[in-house]
């Protein structure tokens, strides 16, 4: 099992720092706080798929804001995981249009296959199941999102298997564009 606990004093990688700097520059000088949501996304990607209080303090530091300003925001938006998660978080859409095309059954199946209940992580640490609201993919229901990728039209057991196999065989999460640039240069 991959241990996802953040180190006591986390630090952003050089690539992440460069990306944060680029994002801050998109806003007026006295409006650094505007970069909070994108920086939280970066932090979540960097530190094992969740943002610990220490990581959130680091985010506050990088934007010159008070830690509570980060906590207020990270707890408002549902994409930020405030507790450790498995290697892959299966975010299952449960809203009307997906429900009409079988998201309830899909959830039951994923619970059975992974051994994790909704809100839990599977015993092998591979999958966390998280229910989310509408992902704007209603025409391709039911839908599961894992990190930045959408797995659509999961109406058949085969489609579900394909998704899970792809995820199981993944050694590392896919590199983000700013990480790729860094490795190239």
């Amino acid at each position: 099992m991959e241990v996802t606990t953040a180190p006591a004093k986390p630090q952003f990688s050089a690539a992440a720092q460069a990306e944060i700097k680029r994002i801050i520059n998109q806003f007026p000088e006295d409006r650094k706080k505007s970069a909070l949501l994108p920086v939280l996304h970066i932090a979540q990607a960097e530190f094992g798929g969740w943002v610990s209080p220490e990581v959130q303090d680091l985010v506050a530091e990088s934007l010159d804001i008070k830690p509570i300003e980060v906590y207020e925001v990270s707890s408002f938006y549902t994409m930020f995981n405030l507790k450790p998660v498995g290697k892959h978080v299966l975010e299952i859409c449960r809203t009307g249009p997906c429900m009409l095309r079988g998201s309830d059954e899909l959830t039951e199946n994923l619970e059975r296959i992974t051994g994790a209940k909704v809100g839990e992580t599977s015993p092998d640490g591979m999958f966390t199941i998280k229910m989310v609201e509408c992902l704007a993919a209603c025409g391709f229901a039911p839908v599961v999102q894992v990190r930045e990728k959408y797995y659509e039209s999961l109406e058949t057991p085969e489609a579900v298997d394909t998704m899970l196999n792809e995820l199981r065989s993944m050694v590392h999460r896919p590199l983000l564009p700013w990480e790729e640039q860094k490795t190239k240069s």
């Binding site: 830690p67 207020e72 408002f76």
Partner: protein, 333 residues
Amino acid sequence: MAKITFDGIEVEVPDGTTILNAARTIGGGIVPPAMCYYTPLKGSGGKCRACLVRVAAGSTKDPRPMPKLVASCITPVQDGMVVENTTSEQVLNVRKGIVEMLLINHPLDCPVCDQAGECDLQNFAFEHGVSTTRYEEERRTFEKIDIGPLIQLHMTRCILCYRCVYTADQLTPGRVHGVLGRGDASEIGTYIENIIDNDFSGNVIDVCPVGALTDKTWRFKQRVWFTKPVNAHRDCPKCTGNVVLWYKGKDVLRVTARKNEYGEVKEWICNECRFEKKETADWTLEGPAAIDRSSVISANHYELPVVNPQIIADLPESSVRDLEQNPPLKLGN
């Protein structure tokens, strides 16, 4: 200046005044209730919806009625505006609904709540609500937390008015508490174990409209209507030192800031005055604090000690007993 008609009463107020403040210049029973708006706090208001009123005519220029009820605490007046509050059945019905919404998750633990007797929600529900509930579901609860040694946060009672957050933001340099979570899972908190520690943090107790933030040094000491408020001041290096002392007998049970008739703090006080100066000797007493005649505190015949009890026939037994145990306070010593 703008002239408006509020519940049939004409009043002229400076441009930019809110409807609520225009109504307050008239005063009395027509003033809309406010559970979140707080004049001293910038940005407060608009959230609880207790003060919704009907604008029957927008202005002289555009006399159309506004399509929805508006929050009077944040809506500025326009010349020629016609506003209905107690004269509109719609407003009164909606207000009943707001009381119901605020109460469905409120614990109704007034018998053990320190705020009882001076609680805005209690007053609001008494004056504007209905006496039954239609809510059968489980209520939302939270654990009590101590935010520092002097203040207790009882989130279950909170109505999310945001006043304490604005207070911390506007009075203190390093706010450590805020609103966390979302929707009906929102809570006031510090997220990580953190204490609110600075000279003016105690003011969050005074601004809280309910018993969510209470003074731990006063916890369960006495029902508020058995205590007697006395204005007093001292030379304080940090604040103006103008306070109200709440006496039971000769003991100062608590110290609060002075408030106006709408429960708004007139001058912020520091924690030293609030929590540490609980001896009469610390203060120069000015005299009894004015109390609204219709308030619970007044209902306990607070005025009696300063008049001659002999001239009042049929004195209720409870107050006689009270008088015997607590002889009239000597003021100004």
